[in-house]
Protein backbone atom coordinates (compact mmCIF):
# COMPACT_ATOMS: atom_id res chain seq x y z
CA UNK A 1 0.00 0.00 0.00
CA UNK A 2 1.33 3.43 -0.91
CA UNK A 3 1.04 6.69 0.93
CA UNK A 4 -2.71 7.33 1.41
CA UNK A 5 -2.99 10.94 0.27
CA UNK A 6 -6.36 12.53 -0.38
CA UNK A 7 -7.47 15.78 -1.98
CA UNK A 8 -9.42 18.12 0.30
CA UNK A 9 -12.84 17.12 -1.09
CA UNK A 10 -12.21 13.37 -0.96
CA UNK A 11 -10.57 13.29 2.47
CA UNK A 12 -12.14 10.79 4.88
CA UNK A 13 -11.19 12.93 7.90
CA UNK A 14 -10.17 11.49 11.26
CA UNK A 15 -12.59 8.54 11.10
CA UNK A 16 -10.63 5.31 10.66
CA UNK A 17 -13.84 3.55 9.63
CA UNK A 18 -14.51 5.93 6.74
CA UNK A 19 -10.91 5.69 5.68
CA UNK A 20 -10.80 1.87 5.92
CA UNK A 21 -14.06 1.67 3.99
CA UNK A 22 -12.74 3.85 1.18
CA UNK A 23 -9.65 1.62 0.96
CA UNK A 24 -11.61 -1.65 1.01
CA UNK A 25 -10.17 -2.60 4.42
CA UNK A 26 -13.51 -2.56 6.27
CA UNK A 27 -15.24 -5.80 7.20
CA UNK A 28 -17.19 -7.33 4.33
CA UNK A 29 -20.96 -7.32 3.99
CA UNK A 30 -21.28 -10.96 2.93
CA UNK A 31 -23.44 -13.42 4.90
CA UNK A 32 -21.89 -16.52 6.49
CA UNK A 33 -23.06 -19.49 8.53
CA UNK A 34 -24.35 -18.86 11.97
CA UNK A 35 -22.39 -21.44 13.92
CA UNK A 36 -19.50 -19.36 15.18
CA UNK A 37 -19.00 -19.32 18.99
CA UNK A 38 -21.29 -16.90 20.76
CA UNK A 39 -23.32 -16.53 23.98
CA UNK A 40 -22.26 -14.38 26.84
CA UNK A 41 -23.17 -12.41 29.86
CA UNK A 42 -21.61 -9.01 30.42
CA UNK A 43 -22.90 -6.57 33.00
CA UNK A 44 -22.20 -2.88 33.44
CA UNK A 45 -23.18 -1.06 36.64
CA UNK A 46 -22.84 2.63 37.28
CA UNK A 47 -21.59 3.80 40.66
CA UNK A 48 -20.98 7.20 42.22
CA UNK A 49 -17.51 7.70 40.69
CA UNK A 50 -17.47 5.51 37.61
CA UNK A 51 -18.66 2.23 36.15
CA UNK A 52 -17.83 -1.41 36.73
CA UNK A 53 -18.16 -4.25 34.25
CA UNK A 54 -18.30 -7.98 34.86
CA UNK A 55 -18.14 -10.52 32.06
CA UNK A 56 -18.05 -14.30 31.75
CA UNK A 57 -15.20 -16.07 29.95
CA UNK A 58 -16.94 -18.81 27.97
CA UNK A 59 -17.28 -19.03 24.19
CA UNK A 60 -19.96 -21.47 23.12
CA UNK A 61 -20.62 -23.03 19.72
CA UNK A 62 -22.33 -26.40 19.64
CA UNK A 63 -20.07 -27.16 22.59
CA UNK A 64 -17.76 -25.06 24.76
CA UNK A 65 -15.19 -23.58 22.37
CA UNK A 66 -13.10 -21.70 24.92
CA UNK A 67 -13.17 -21.10 28.66
CA UNK A 68 -10.91 -18.08 28.97
CA UNK A 69 -12.13 -15.53 26.43
CA UNK A 70 -11.69 -11.87 27.32
CA UNK A 71 -14.96 -10.22 26.36
CA UNK A 72 -14.18 -6.87 27.96
CA UNK A 73 -11.27 -4.82 26.67
CA UNK A 74 -10.08 -1.27 27.15
CA UNK A 75 -11.00 0.62 23.97
CA UNK A 76 -8.80 3.40 25.30
CA UNK A 77 -7.71 4.62 28.74
CA UNK A 78 -11.20 5.75 29.79
CA UNK A 79 -13.43 3.43 27.78
CA UNK A 80 -14.32 -0.23 28.23
CA UNK A 81 -15.93 -2.17 25.42
CA UNK A 82 -17.59 -5.57 25.85
CA UNK A 83 -18.85 -7.83 23.10
CA UNK A 84 -21.59 -10.39 22.70
CA UNK A 85 -22.76 -12.35 19.69
CA UNK A 86 -20.39 -13.64 17.06
CA UNK A 87 -16.87 -13.90 18.49
CA UNK A 88 -15.20 -13.19 15.15
CA UNK A 89 -17.25 -10.07 14.49
CA UNK A 90 -16.94 -8.99 18.09
CA UNK A 91 -13.15 -9.19 18.05
CA UNK A 92 -13.10 -7.25 14.83
CA UNK A 93 -15.36 -4.57 16.32
CA UNK A 94 -13.03 -4.31 19.32
CA UNK A 95 -10.03 -3.90 17.05
CA UNK A 96 -11.77 -1.28 14.91
CA UNK A 97 -12.91 0.64 18.01
CA UNK A 98 -9.50 0.64 19.68
CA UNK A 99 -7.79 1.68 16.48
CA UNK A 100 -10.39 4.30 15.60
CA UNK A 101 -10.28 6.13 18.94
CA UNK A 102 -6.48 6.26 18.82
CA UNK A 103 -6.54 7.25 15.13
CA UNK A 104 -8.90 10.13 15.85
CA UNK A 105 -6.69 11.29 18.71
CA UNK A 106 -3.54 11.27 16.57
CA UNK A 107 -5.20 12.92 13.57
CA UNK A 108 -6.81 15.75 15.52
CA UNK A 109 -4.58 15.95 18.62
CA UNK A 110 -7.69 15.70 20.81
CA UNK A 111 -9.60 12.75 22.25
CA UNK A 112 -13.15 11.88 21.17
CA UNK A 113 -15.84 12.52 23.78
CA UNK A 114 -17.36 9.42 25.38
CA UNK A 115 -20.65 10.11 23.62
CA UNK A 116 -18.72 10.53 20.36
CA UNK A 117 -17.16 7.11 20.83
CA UNK A 118 -20.56 5.55 21.57
CA UNK A 119 -22.18 7.12 18.49
CA UNK A 120 -19.24 6.21 16.29
CA UNK A 121 -19.97 2.49 16.74
CA UNK A 122 -23.65 2.74 15.71
CA UNK A 123 -23.27 2.61 11.92
CA UNK A 124 -20.60 -0.10 12.19
CA UNK A 125 -22.98 -2.31 14.20
CA UNK A 126 -25.84 -1.43 11.89
CA UNK A 127 -23.97 -2.40 8.77
CA UNK A 128 -22.76 -5.67 10.28
CA UNK A 129 -26.08 -6.73 11.74
CA UNK A 130 -28.35 -5.78 8.85
CA UNK A 131 -26.21 -7.57 6.29
CA UNK A 132 -24.97 -10.66 8.11
CA UNK A 133 -26.44 -13.38 10.35
CA UNK A 134 -23.32 -13.10 12.50
CA UNK A 135 -24.72 -10.56 14.91
CA UNK A 136 -22.58 -8.54 17.24
CA UNK A 137 -23.89 -6.45 20.13
CA UNK A 138 -21.40 -4.49 22.17
CA UNK A 139 -21.72 -2.65 25.46
CA UNK A 140 -19.71 0.50 25.98
CA UNK A 141 -18.99 2.03 29.38
CA UNK A 142 -16.51 4.62 30.42
CA UNK A 143 -15.50 7.67 32.34
CA UNK A 144 -16.74 10.90 30.73
CA UNK A 145 -13.85 13.30 31.12
CA UNK A 146 -15.90 16.37 30.20
CA UNK A 147 -18.82 15.71 32.58
CA UNK A 148 -16.87 13.73 35.22
CA UNK A 149 -19.33 10.83 35.47
CA UNK A 150 -19.36 7.18 34.54
CA UNK A 151 -21.68 6.46 31.60
CA UNK A 152 -23.08 3.31 29.99
CA UNK A 153 -24.25 2.94 26.37
CA UNK A 154 -26.06 -0.11 25.02
CA UNK A 155 -27.07 -0.92 21.44
CA UNK A 156 -29.91 -2.68 19.71
CA UNK A 157 -29.46 -5.01 16.74
CA UNK A 158 -29.97 -2.22 14.22
CA UNK A 159 -27.22 -0.07 15.70
CA UNK A 160 -29.43 2.14 17.86
CA UNK A 161 -27.41 3.58 20.75
CA UNK A 162 -29.07 4.16 24.12
CA UNK A 163 -27.62 5.56 27.30
CA UNK A 164 -28.43 3.69 30.51
CA UNK A 165 -28.30 5.56 33.78
CA UNK A 166 -28.30 2.55 36.10
CA UNK A 167 -27.04 -0.71 34.63
CA UNK A 168 -27.05 -2.71 31.41
CA UNK A 169 -26.51 -6.30 30.34
CA UNK A 170 -25.76 -8.07 27.07
CA UNK A 171 -25.76 -11.72 26.06
CA UNK A 172 -27.88 -14.81 26.53
CA UNK A 173 -27.65 -14.71 30.34
CA UNK A 174 -29.13 -11.21 30.45
CA UNK A 175 -32.59 -12.10 31.87
CA UNK A 176 -31.04 -13.71 34.95
CA UNK A 177 -28.43 -11.03 35.49
CA UNK A 178 -31.04 -8.35 34.92
CA UNK A 179 -33.27 -9.84 37.64
CA UNK A 180 -30.52 -9.62 40.24
CA UNK A 181 -29.53 -6.12 39.13
CA UNK A 182 -33.09 -4.82 39.30
CA UNK A 183 -33.41 -5.98 42.89
CA UNK A 184 -29.94 -4.93 44.02
CA UNK A 185 -29.28 -1.63 42.25
CA UNK A 186 -29.24 1.60 44.24
CA UNK A 187 -28.25 4.99 42.89
CA UNK A 188 -25.76 5.52 45.73
CA UNK A 189 -23.64 2.42 45.10
CA UNK A 190 -19.90 2.84 45.62
CA UNK A 191 -17.27 0.90 43.66
CA UNK A 192 -17.22 -2.02 46.10
CA UNK A 193 -21.04 -2.20 46.12
CA UNK A 194 -21.18 -2.12 42.32
CA UNK A 195 -18.53 -4.84 42.01
CA UNK A 196 -20.37 -7.06 44.51
CA UNK A 197 -23.72 -6.56 42.75
CA UNK A 198 -22.14 -7.21 39.36
CA UNK A 199 -20.52 -10.42 40.64
CA UNK A 200 -23.84 -11.63 42.10
CA UNK A 201 -25.67 -10.89 38.87
CA UNK A 202 -23.06 -12.77 36.87
CA UNK A 203 -23.22 -15.70 39.28
CA UNK A 204 -26.98 -15.86 38.67
CA UNK A 205 -26.48 -15.82 34.90
CA UNK A 206 -23.80 -18.52 35.08
CA UNK A 207 -26.08 -20.60 37.28
CA UNK A 208 -29.07 -20.44 34.94
CA UNK A 209 -27.83 -19.88 31.41
CA UNK A 210 -26.05 -22.90 29.86
CA UNK A 211 -24.10 -20.60 27.54
CA UNK A 212 -22.65 -18.38 30.25
CA UNK A 213 -19.59 -19.59 32.12
CA UNK A 214 -19.72 -19.03 35.87
CA UNK A 215 -16.66 -19.17 38.15
CA UNK A 216 -14.56 -22.23 37.28
CA UNK A 217 -12.98 -23.43 40.54
CA UNK A 218 -11.49 -26.50 38.86
CA UNK A 219 -9.38 -24.50 36.41
CA UNK A 220 -9.23 -21.31 38.47
CA UNK A 221 -10.76 -19.28 35.66
CA UNK A 222 -12.98 -16.49 36.92
CA UNK A 223 -15.17 -13.88 35.27
CA UNK A 224 -13.48 -10.61 34.28
CA UNK A 225 -14.11 -7.65 36.54
CA UNK A 226 -13.03 -4.12 35.63
CA UNK A 227 -13.77 -0.56 36.63
CA UNK A 228 -13.41 2.71 34.76
CA UNK A 229 -13.11 5.92 36.74
CA UNK A 230 -11.05 9.11 36.77
CA UNK A 231 -8.06 6.79 37.33
CA UNK A 232 -8.80 5.07 34.01
CA UNK A 233 -9.46 1.46 33.08
CA UNK A 234 -8.53 -0.92 35.91
CA UNK A 235 -8.81 -4.68 35.82
CA UNK A 236 -9.37 -6.46 39.14
CA UNK A 237 -6.66 -9.07 39.69
CA UNK A 238 -7.73 -12.71 39.23
CA UNK A 239 -7.05 -13.82 42.88
CA UNK A 240 -9.31 -11.03 44.17
CA UNK A 241 -12.06 -11.95 41.71
CA UNK A 242 -11.66 -15.61 42.65
CA UNK A 243 -12.02 -14.81 46.35
CA UNK A 244 -15.20 -12.84 45.68
CA UNK A 245 -16.81 -15.69 43.76
CA UNK A 246 -15.60 -18.23 46.32
CA UNK A 247 -17.50 -16.32 49.01
CA UNK A 248 -20.67 -16.16 46.92
CA UNK A 249 -20.33 -19.87 46.24
CA UNK A 250 -19.94 -20.68 49.95
CA UNK A 251 -23.05 -18.69 50.83
CA UNK A 252 -24.98 -20.53 48.14
CA UNK A 253 -23.72 -23.88 49.39
CA UNK A 254 -24.90 -23.04 52.91
CA UNK A 255 -28.36 -22.14 51.63
CA UNK A 256 -28.42 -25.19 49.34
CA UNK A 257 -28.34 -23.25 46.13
CA UNK A 258 -31.12 -20.73 46.73
CA UNK A 259 -30.38 -17.06 47.13
CA UNK A 260 -32.20 -17.43 50.43
CA UNK A 261 -34.82 -14.73 50.31
CA UNK A 262 -32.25 -11.94 50.33
CA UNK A 263 -29.87 -10.76 47.68
CA UNK A 264 -26.59 -12.23 48.75
Amino acid sequence: MGLPLFSAHGDPGPSFWHYADSMGLAPSRGALHEDAPHATTVIAVRYDHGVVMVGDRQATGNYIASRDVRKIEPADRFTALAISGSAARGMELLKIAQLSFEHYEKMTDSALSLEGKANYLSPIIQRNNLSSPLLVLPLLAGWDESHLVGRIFEYDGAGGCYERFDFATIGSGSPFAEGALRLGFRSDLDREGALELGALALYEAGDNDPNTGGPDFVRNIFPMMISVSAEGFQEIAAPEVGERFRQINERRTESRGVAGGTLR
Partner: protein, 225 residues
Protein backbone atom coordinates in the same frame (compact mmCIF):
# COMPACT_ATOMS: atom_id res chain seq x y z
CA UNK B 1 0.28 29.06 -31.71
CA UNK B 2 2.05 28.85 -28.37
CA UNK B 3 5.76 29.41 -28.37
CA UNK B 4 7.82 26.85 -26.46
CA UNK B 5 11.15 27.94 -25.10
CA UNK B 6 13.83 25.43 -24.37
CA UNK B 7 14.73 25.17 -20.69
CA UNK B 8 17.65 22.88 -19.85
CA UNK B 9 16.95 20.18 -17.23
CA UNK B 10 19.71 21.66 -15.06
CA UNK B 11 17.99 25.04 -15.06
CA UNK B 12 14.59 23.51 -14.38
CA UNK B 13 15.86 21.57 -11.35
CA UNK B 14 17.73 24.63 -10.09
CA UNK B 15 14.63 26.83 -10.36
CA UNK B 16 12.48 24.28 -8.60
CA UNK B 17 15.03 23.77 -5.83
CA UNK B 18 15.31 27.53 -5.29
CA UNK B 19 11.55 27.82 -5.14
CA UNK B 20 11.25 25.07 -2.51
CA UNK B 21 14.19 26.36 -0.47
CA UNK B 22 12.68 29.84 -0.34
CA UNK B 23 9.37 28.48 0.89
CA UNK B 24 11.05 26.37 3.57
CA UNK B 25 13.30 29.23 4.70
CA UNK B 26 10.24 31.34 5.54
CA UNK B 27 9.30 29.01 8.43
CA UNK B 28 11.13 28.29 11.68
CA UNK B 29 13.33 25.28 12.26
CA UNK B 30 13.14 22.02 14.14
CA UNK B 31 15.81 20.05 16.01
CA UNK B 32 15.36 16.34 16.67
CA UNK B 33 17.90 14.57 18.83
CA UNK B 34 18.46 11.23 20.49
CA UNK B 35 18.97 11.49 24.26
CA UNK B 36 20.00 8.86 26.78
CA UNK B 37 16.46 7.56 27.21
CA UNK B 38 14.62 8.37 24.00
CA UNK B 39 14.14 10.87 21.19
CA UNK B 40 13.19 14.52 21.59
CA UNK B 41 11.73 16.75 18.88
CA UNK B 42 11.90 20.49 19.44
CA UNK B 43 10.20 23.04 17.21
CA UNK B 44 10.12 26.78 17.47
CA UNK B 45 6.40 27.34 17.09
CA UNK B 46 4.54 30.42 18.37
CA UNK B 47 1.20 28.66 17.76
CA UNK B 48 -0.06 26.37 20.51
CA UNK B 49 -2.50 24.53 18.26
CA UNK B 50 -1.04 24.38 14.74
CA UNK B 51 1.41 21.62 15.49
CA UNK B 52 4.60 20.73 13.66
CA UNK B 53 5.27 17.63 15.74
CA UNK B 54 2.92 14.67 15.95
CA UNK B 55 2.50 11.11 17.10
CA UNK B 56 2.31 8.66 14.20
CA UNK B 57 2.45 5.25 15.85
CA UNK B 58 3.49 3.45 19.02
CA UNK B 59 7.20 4.23 18.51
CA UNK B 60 7.12 6.69 15.60
CA UNK B 61 6.87 10.48 15.58
CA UNK B 62 6.61 13.01 12.77
CA UNK B 63 7.97 16.55 12.40
CA UNK B 64 7.51 18.90 9.47
CA UNK B 65 8.71 22.35 8.51
CA UNK B 66 7.68 24.65 5.67
CA UNK B 67 4.14 25.14 4.41
CA UNK B 68 1.72 23.98 7.09
CA UNK B 69 -1.02 22.66 4.79
CA UNK B 70 1.50 20.61 2.83
CA UNK B 71 3.29 18.91 5.72
CA UNK B 72 0.06 18.43 7.67
CA UNK B 73 -1.39 16.44 4.79
CA UNK B 74 1.76 14.29 4.80
CA UNK B 75 1.41 13.86 8.57
CA UNK B 76 -2.19 12.64 8.14
CA UNK B 77 -1.14 10.28 5.37
CA UNK B 78 1.57 8.90 7.66
CA UNK B 79 -0.88 8.19 10.48
CA UNK B 80 -3.28 6.52 8.05
CA UNK B 81 -0.51 4.46 6.54
CA UNK B 82 0.74 3.36 9.98
CA UNK B 83 -2.71 2.56 11.39
CA UNK B 84 -3.81 0.60 8.35
CA UNK B 85 -0.51 -1.29 8.12
CA UNK B 86 -0.80 -2.26 11.80
CA UNK B 87 -4.45 -3.22 11.25
CA UNK B 88 -3.68 -5.39 8.22
CA UNK B 89 -0.57 -7.09 9.62
CA UNK B 90 0.60 -6.51 13.18
CA UNK B 91 1.58 -3.51 15.27
CA UNK B 92 5.21 -4.62 15.23
CA UNK B 93 5.29 -4.55 11.41
CA UNK B 94 4.96 -0.77 11.29
CA UNK B 95 8.44 0.48 10.44
CA UNK B 96 9.60 4.10 10.26
CA UNK B 97 12.00 3.36 7.39
CA UNK B 98 9.12 2.23 5.17
CA UNK B 99 7.19 5.39 5.97
CA UNK B 100 10.22 7.62 5.37
CA UNK B 101 10.69 5.91 1.99
CA UNK B 102 7.10 6.64 1.02
CA UNK B 103 7.58 10.28 1.97
CA UNK B 104 10.80 10.37 -0.06
CA UNK B 105 9.09 8.89 -3.10
CA UNK B 106 6.17 11.29 -2.86
CA UNK B 107 8.35 14.36 -2.37
CA UNK B 108 10.60 13.19 -5.23
CA UNK B 109 7.61 12.74 -7.53
CA UNK B 110 6.21 16.14 -6.64
CA UNK B 111 9.60 17.76 -7.19
CA UNK B 112 9.99 16.45 -10.73
CA UNK B 113 6.41 15.96 -11.90
CA UNK B 114 4.23 18.15 -9.70
CA UNK B 115 2.90 21.55 -10.68
CA UNK B 116 5.25 22.85 -8.05
CA UNK B 117 7.56 21.12 -5.58
CA UNK B 118 6.33 20.79 -2.01
CA UNK B 119 7.85 23.43 0.25
CA UNK B 120 8.46 21.07 3.15
CA UNK B 121 11.04 19.02 4.97
CA UNK B 122 9.99 15.97 6.95
CA UNK B 123 11.46 14.05 9.82
CA UNK B 124 10.40 10.54 10.82
CA UNK B 125 11.76 9.48 14.21
CA UNK B 126 11.67 5.96 15.56
CA UNK B 127 12.34 4.86 19.12
CA UNK B 128 14.26 1.60 19.03
CA UNK B 129 13.49 -1.67 20.76
CA UNK B 130 14.78 -5.19 20.38
CA UNK B 131 13.34 -5.37 16.86
CA UNK B 132 14.46 -2.04 15.45
CA UNK B 133 17.08 0.64 16.11
CA UNK B 134 16.44 4.21 17.19
CA UNK B 135 16.47 6.25 13.99
CA UNK B 136 16.04 9.77 12.66
CA UNK B 137 15.11 9.87 8.97
CA UNK B 138 15.21 13.28 7.35
CA UNK B 139 13.45 13.73 4.02
CA UNK B 140 14.22 16.86 2.00
CA UNK B 141 11.87 18.70 -0.40
CA UNK B 142 13.29 16.93 -3.48
CA UNK B 143 13.01 13.46 -1.95
CA UNK B 144 16.53 13.00 -0.65
CA UNK B 145 16.38 10.76 2.40
CA UNK B 146 19.11 10.73 5.01
CA UNK B 147 19.60 8.65 8.11
CA UNK B 148 20.94 11.03 10.75
CA UNK B 149 23.12 9.36 13.37
CA UNK B 150 22.48 11.46 16.50
CA UNK B 151 20.49 14.55 15.64
CA UNK B 152 18.79 16.22 12.70
CA UNK B 153 17.90 19.80 11.89
CA UNK B 154 15.09 20.80 9.54
CA UNK B 155 14.29 24.21 8.14
CA UNK B 156 15.80 27.16 6.37
CA UNK B 157 18.56 27.91 8.82
CA UNK B 158 19.53 24.25 9.18
CA UNK B 159 23.28 24.55 8.57
CA UNK B 160 23.87 27.25 11.21
CA UNK B 161 21.69 25.48 13.77
CA UNK B 162 23.37 22.19 12.98
CA UNK B 163 26.81 23.70 13.67
CA UNK B 164 25.61 25.23 16.93
CA UNK B 165 24.02 21.97 18.13
CA UNK B 166 27.06 19.92 17.08
CA UNK B 167 29.18 21.99 19.50
CA UNK B 168 27.29 20.47 22.43
CA UNK B 169 28.64 17.23 23.91
CA UNK B 170 29.21 14.23 21.72
CA UNK B 171 27.74 11.56 23.98
CA UNK B 172 24.05 11.08 24.70
CA UNK B 173 22.79 13.47 27.36
CA UNK B 174 19.73 13.64 29.60
CA UNK B 175 16.43 14.98 28.26
CA UNK B 176 16.88 18.28 30.12
CA UNK B 177 20.39 18.86 28.72
CA UNK B 178 19.42 17.82 25.19
CA UNK B 179 16.35 20.06 25.26
CA UNK B 180 18.45 22.94 26.52
CA UNK B 181 21.04 22.40 23.77
CA UNK B 182 18.32 22.19 21.14
CA UNK B 183 16.67 25.35 22.38
CA UNK B 184 19.91 27.36 22.38
CA UNK B 185 20.85 25.97 18.97
CA UNK B 186 17.48 27.11 17.60
CA UNK B 187 17.67 30.56 19.17
CA UNK B 188 21.35 31.41 18.57
CA UNK B 189 23.44 33.50 20.95
CA UNK B 190 21.46 36.75 20.62
CA UNK B 191 18.04 35.74 21.92
CA UNK B 192 16.15 33.29 24.12
CA UNK B 193 13.03 31.48 22.89
CA UNK B 194 10.33 31.61 25.59
CA UNK B 195 9.29 28.08 26.66
CA UNK B 196 5.68 28.61 25.51
CA UNK B 197 7.00 29.15 21.96
CA UNK B 198 8.72 25.79 21.97
CA UNK B 199 6.76 22.77 20.83
CA UNK B 200 8.30 19.65 22.33
CA UNK B 201 7.45 16.00 21.82
CA UNK B 202 9.33 12.96 23.03
CA UNK B 203 9.41 9.24 22.32
CA UNK B 204 10.27 7.44 25.54
CA UNK B 205 9.47 4.05 27.05
CA UNK B 206 7.13 4.64 29.99
CA UNK B 207 5.74 1.13 30.43
CA UNK B 208 2.87 1.72 28.01
CA UNK B 209 2.48 0.88 24.34
CA UNK B 210 2.32 4.45 23.06
CA UNK B 211 5.70 6.09 23.65
CA UNK B 212 4.92 9.56 22.24
CA UNK B 213 4.33 12.34 24.72
CA UNK B 214 3.69 16.01 23.99
CA UNK B 215 5.27 18.07 26.76
CA UNK B 216 3.21 20.87 28.30
CA UNK B 217 4.57 24.43 28.65
CA UNK B 218 5.06 23.75 32.38
CA UNK B 219 7.06 20.59 31.71
CA UNK B 220 9.24 22.42 29.17
CA UNK B 221 9.76 25.31 31.60
CA UNK B 222 10.77 22.91 34.35
CA UNK B 223 13.21 21.01 32.13
CA UNK B 224 14.83 24.23 30.95
CA UNK B 225 15.16 25.79 34.41
Amino acid sequence: MTNYFYVSPEQLIKDRAEFAQKGIARGRSIVAAIYDNGVVLVAENPSASLNKISEVYDRIAFAGVGKYNEFDRLREAGIRWADSTGYTYSREDVDARALANYYAQHLGDMFTEGQKPLEVEILVAQLGNKLRPTKLYRVAYEGTISDEPRFAVLGGDAETIKDRFALSEDSLQSLATTLHNASTALSGPDRVIPPEELEVGILEDRGIRRTFLRLTDEQVKELLS
